[in-house]
Symmetry: C2
Subunit: 165 residues, 2 copies
């Protein structure tokens, strides 16, 4: 099974969301996402004033694919890879920057947000999120053994079932 | 046969080269290329101080491919396509902007050129080149019929050959 390369949960997930929210408000951007290099959306936030977001899952997949595809181009230019991508349309802009090696910060903005401001607050968010990812504890393993508690409660349940009512 | 979608030759070709040269010097960038959407290099210039350029043909192909591939992403965001792309590595940056619908201006720069300056002079070059492309005259058709001139000179040549010396 393909799984996200980073397991964000609990406290770390909340911290990432807070950081995305802060950037969203300060930079006045529409949507912000944390995506892993396989294209999984790890966290996402939308501005209240922004129109209904497009399919963020599809966007995440295309961006991760595009980031991987441009590495050939980067290598031709003597770079390991591009750590920053800006795609600018007539109204909508897309800013992608890598966080550590595993994740990408994706910011979608419109003409109300100058790219300089987007970059400035994105860098702050990246610094925060980078620290969160570094200090990530491994996902607690699920306890799959059936203990004595389970045995007694299952026994009681079965007793109930066969009591014949 | 796949052919470039724009035929740049003679006076127009020189004008485009002058425009690229001017941008190269003013923005202090390494390489500048005019590429069509199929990936053909229509014109290119390298700065004298820049190291030996990488395979510009391959770069042009990858960039044209990348520009086409990102159109799916643009459509998801409600744009026809992205008219401006910036890829930034640790030292090398790549700036791509469309000229009319047929061509792309590709600028490769390093840390000595701030992106703002690159964009500024790229816009000037785009304005110039856009005008040149608009006023492009169709390629003069090659005259493939054999006229009387050809007949008489070929006759004389054959006479010489068979005179038997």
């Amino acid at each position: 099974m393909i799984e996200p390369s980073i397991a964000l949960y609990g406290e770390s997930f909340n911290k990432v969301n807070t950081s995305l929210d802060e950037m969203l408000n300060k930079a006045h951007v529409r949507y912000a996402m944390l995506v892993d290099r396989k294209g999984f959306v790890l966290a996402h936030k939308e501005a209240l004033w922004a129109p209904k977001p497009p399919a963020l899952d599809s966007i995440a997949t295309l961006i991760a694919g595009n980031a991987a595809a441009t590495s050939a181009l980067a290598k031709l230019l003597g770079e390991r890879r591009f750590n920053e991508l800006v795609h600018q349309g007539e109204r909508i802009g897309l800013y992608v920057e890598e966080i550590q090696t595993e994740a990408l910060l994706v910011v979608i903005f419109d003409e109300t947000a100058p790219i300089g401001r987007v970059k400035l607050y994105a860098k702050t968010a990246i610094k925060d999120i980078s620290e969160i990812i570094e200090n990530l504890e491994p996902m607690p393993a699920m306890d799959m053994t059936l203990g004595s508690d389970f045995a007694s409660s299952a026994g009681a349940l079965l007793d109930d079932l066969f009591k014949g009512n």
